[in-house]
């Protein structure tokens, strides 16, 4: 236990093995947090109990909720929000920002290449197998030129800080990364609850995301269009991310449509308005590849628009992100990221990659099977934290099950050393105190034609269960407001 002259932290248990974002190895508060630490210390723990309730009802009344389906009834829940913000100092942010842009650009060039000449494969930098056996590679995208040459308009990069104090990328999400609305809501909620603390720091605003997104989406409009008509397409209000879809449409000032609101005629896309059909030029789609067009992909999809893909291939409409981007956020492709960056950009990677063992390679498979208790095993094609096994948490029996699963389909699995996510003081409802919890960071990068934008903030996700490393909201994670400081 650290003895601190700060009431709210008096019972804060610091595990010295973990990297704490606020306290250094000796238990001293780091410079960048010192003011915040003092300011928070002026409150009693009772104040936090109250503020926490207020923040919760603020989210609830604003309807920033998701549905949990039970046999008996559906319940509305809020994403847990933590009152203690995470601070990223400018020198660290510069690395994150330039690293995120570098990765997004490299992935975009990689996608262009594998859907066109496949030079990177022919030159033996990555194996053919990586693409030919990927479930997310779309043959239909072969030789298709997306407007503006952009595939991954929006990327969500999941970054952690390891015990060595270095940032590592865990995952690039370039299908339909979500969470950006929570970045903005978290800021609003924290401002409502603890406005006083903002005066003491120069923090970047996060409210400019939508205008930048719209701006960049307009740069990738189809040829021959003057002022593009942009829409956001959602699977509908029962989707768990519906709040975000409506938030983005509202803040960009564009229509939020469902598949049934659109139709295709002569390879042009129209929406059904009260004043008759209106042409649509750019679609920010929050529907997975498989569902966007029943004529081309899943025939029983009722979420998509028949004929949409044909219109896309003709270049009459932009889809963001482009179909088929999933092939590049595959966890197996991830392991080649350093090579991919060097190959296309002729630069050294700015952000670290976690070393990865491919179970498809016999030698590495052998290593994985022998060292399973020191590794994290991940299926390459699952999102949302599903199917992950953490070696040192498994019983002997469970290890055997995992081994058998890997052997059944080695291509499906990769393994990485167990990375320790940094921890951050987090208010815990149950104990009414601040405790260490693991955090990560998802940044949001937008690519346009010759332009890019990274939201100066990001979503700090917290694993609310003690000791838990999986931060996804679907697995009981919460989030924090994230402050990027100005220099």
């Amino acid at each position: 236990m650290v003895n601190l002259e700060n009431q709210i932290f008096s019972s804060y248990k610091r595990n010295p093995v973990l990297f704490d974002e606020i306290f250094d190895k000796n238990g001293q508060v780091k410079d960048v947090y010192s003011k915040l630490f003092t300011l928070y210390g002026e409150h009693s723990i009772k104040d936090y109990v109250n503020l926490n309730e207020k923040a919760k009802s603020s989210f609830f009344n604003q309807g920033i909720t998701f549905q949990v389906y039970d046999k008996k009834k559906t319940e509305e829940k809020i994403f847990p929000f933590d009152l203690f913000p995470r601070i990223i100092p400018p020198e660290e942010w510069n690395i994150i920002e330039s690293g995120a842009i570098q990765r997004s650009r490299a992935l975009n060039l990689f996608l262009w290449d594998i859907y066109h000449d496949k030079k990177i494969i022919r030159q033996g930098i990555v194996p053919m197998d990586l693409i030919s056996s990927s479930a997310n590679y779309l043959d239909q995208m072969n030789k298709v030129d997306p407007p503006g040459g952009i595939y991954n308009h929006i990327s969500g990069t999941d970054i952690i800080k390891h015990t060595d104090g270095q940032y590592y990328v865990l995952e690039d999400n370039i299908r339909c990364p979500s969470g950006v609305s929570y970045v903005i809501c978290n800021r609003t909620a924290l401002k409502r609850a603890l406005f006083g603390v903002f005066n003491h720091y120069k923090t970047y605003s996060v409210t400019n995301y939508a205008e930048n997104l719209l701006d960049l989406l307009e740069t990738v409009k189809p040829k021959g269009v003057d002022i593009p008509n942009v829409v956001v397409i959602t699977p509908g209000m029962f989707n768990s991310a519906f709040y975000e879809h409506s938030y983005l449409a509202k803040t960009m000032g564009v229509e939020l449509v469902e598949g049934r609101d659109l139709f295709v005629e002569n390879d042009f896309v129209y929406m059904k308005t009260i004043q008759g059909p209106q042409k649509v030029d750019v679609i920010y789609r929050r529907i997975d590849d498989a569902f966007i067009d029943p004529l081309e992909f899943k025939p029983d999809s009722s979420l998509g628009v028949p004929g949409l893909f044909a219109a896309y291939k003709k270049g009459n409409v932009t889809l963001a992100n482009a179909p088929g981007t999933g092939v590049a956020d595959d966890k197996a492709v991830y392991t080649y990221m350093p090579e991919i960056i060097r190959y296309y950009l002729n630069e050294e990677p700015i952000l670290n990659n976690v070393h990865t063992y491919h179970c498809s390679r016999p030698k590495e498979l052998k290593y994985v099977l022998e060292h399973i208790e020191t590794l994290v095993i991940k299926p390459v094609d699952e999102a949302g934290g599903y199917g992950i096994s953490i070696g040192n948490r498994l019983s002997k029996k469970e290890i055997e099950v995992v081994k058998a699963q890997i052997l059944l389909n080695p291509r499906k699995y990769v393994a990485q050393p167990i990375m320790s996510l940094s921890v951050h003081p987090t208010y815990i409802d149950k104990t009414e105190s601040f405790e260490q919890r693991h955090v990560d960071l998802r940044t949001f990068t937008v690519l346009g034609k010759d332009k890019e934008f990274v939201l100066k903030g990001g979503l700090t996700r917290v694993a609310l269960k003690r000791g838990n490393l999986i931060v996804n909201s679907s697995q009981g994670g919460g989030s924090k407001d994230t402050w990027v400081l100005k220099t």
Binding site: G63, M237, E255, V257, D261, T273, I274
Partner: protein, 315 residues
């Protein structure tokens, strides 16, 4: 604006208005009957029947005895009764949800609070002694929503659609309330002169439509059947009258269809036609046959709603 979303906003407007009228009808009838001047008006069964009649679930069989608790629960908080207030408010929210990108954050937050207020209301408290509190909150929260609609949305197509819904529904509810109360007036007649004309129920009718004070100021007399009906149907300055609602529908229709030369087959034409009929109606005609005026008004409103659906919402 998307046709689907326009349809939802139209219905959002209708459900907001509907919840308010139902809640007010419950409250006013229940509480004014407690000290009503005659036996019939004071009877619990009489009041409960009137409530069921207004909500569109009339029970003709006079021998059936209604349980007060059950009727109040059914109309207020029964999730299995489609016309209950709780379902109306749920519909308000569902419709608002799908148009969340179009309506203001402020309006949505108020709708959401309204919904949570209703869904958390304990049915036992409500039927035992919460009727006044519950219904008063419903009417006040609907008034807040109307205020937010007016002051936090651009007065463009979106607003026009919501206002069309609101005013079509208002006219519909007012005419249904007139229907239910004139029925009551037949049963609970006054004690002097023309007994139907002087029934206490006309006063209750005006209170049910929040028009009693306005009416007293205008006529300076005890409400009778003629003055009440004239005021509630024909007076363009009474914000609850059929005439006023039709004027509002007409006004907002012009935002959706600004043509001056109207297509005979358009909604705008139909609205103008119905409005003109009421502009040139006299109370004497109405008095002769109240029932047929009620029926044709309901038919016309239904026709306008159908026409809108055809012209704007379906593809």
């Amino acid at each position: 604006m998307l046709a689907r979303v326009a349809n939802n906003l139209f219905w959002m407007g209708r459900y907001i208005e509907r919840s308010e009228h139902i809640a007010r009808y419950l409250r006013v009838n229940y509480f004014s009957s407690l000290d009503a001047p005659n036996q019939v008006s004071q009877s619990r069964q009489f009041v409960l029947r009137s409530m069921l009649n207004m909500i569109g679930d009339p029970i003709e069989d006079e021998s059936i005895v209604h349980s007060e608790e059950r009727v109040l629960y059914k109309i207020g908080l029964d999730p299995n009764y489609p016309s209950s207030i709780i379902n109306n408010v749920r519909n308000v929210r569902e419709n608002a949800n799908s148009a969340r990108d179009l309506i203001s954050t402020e309006l949505y937050e108020s709708i959401n609070k309204f919904y949570h207020f209703i869904s958390k209301y304990d049915p036992k408290v409500y039927t035992k002694n919460g009727l006044h509190d519950f219904t008063l909150n419903v009417t006040e929260m609907s008034a807040i929503l109307r205020g937010k609609v007016r002051s936090t949305l651009m007065h463009d197509e979106i607003y026009a659609i919501i206002m069309m819904g609101t005013n079509i529904e208002r006219a519909t509810q007012i005419i249904r309330i007139i229907n239910a109360k004139s029925n009551d007036a037949l049963k609970a007649q006054g004690s002097y002169g023309d007994k139907f004309k002087n029934s206490f129920e006309w006063t209750t009718l005006l209170k049910c439509t929040e028009s009693y004070d306005m009416m007293r100021r205008y006529y300076k007399k005890t409400p009778s059947s003629i003055s009440t009906l004239e005021f509630l149907i024909l007076n363009p300055d009474c914000p609850r009258s059929i005439m006023n609602s039709l004027n509002q529908v007409f006004k907002h229709m012009q935002i959706l269809d600004p043509n001056t030369k109207l297509d005979r087959d358009s909604t705008a034409f139909l609205v103008a036609k119905v409005k003109a009929e009421y502009e040139f109606k006299c109370i004497i005609e109405i008095e002769k046959d109240i029932q047929s005026v009620i029926d044709t008004t309901l038919d016309s409103l239904y026709e306008i709603s159908q026409k809108m659906e055809e012209e704007f919402f379906s593809y």
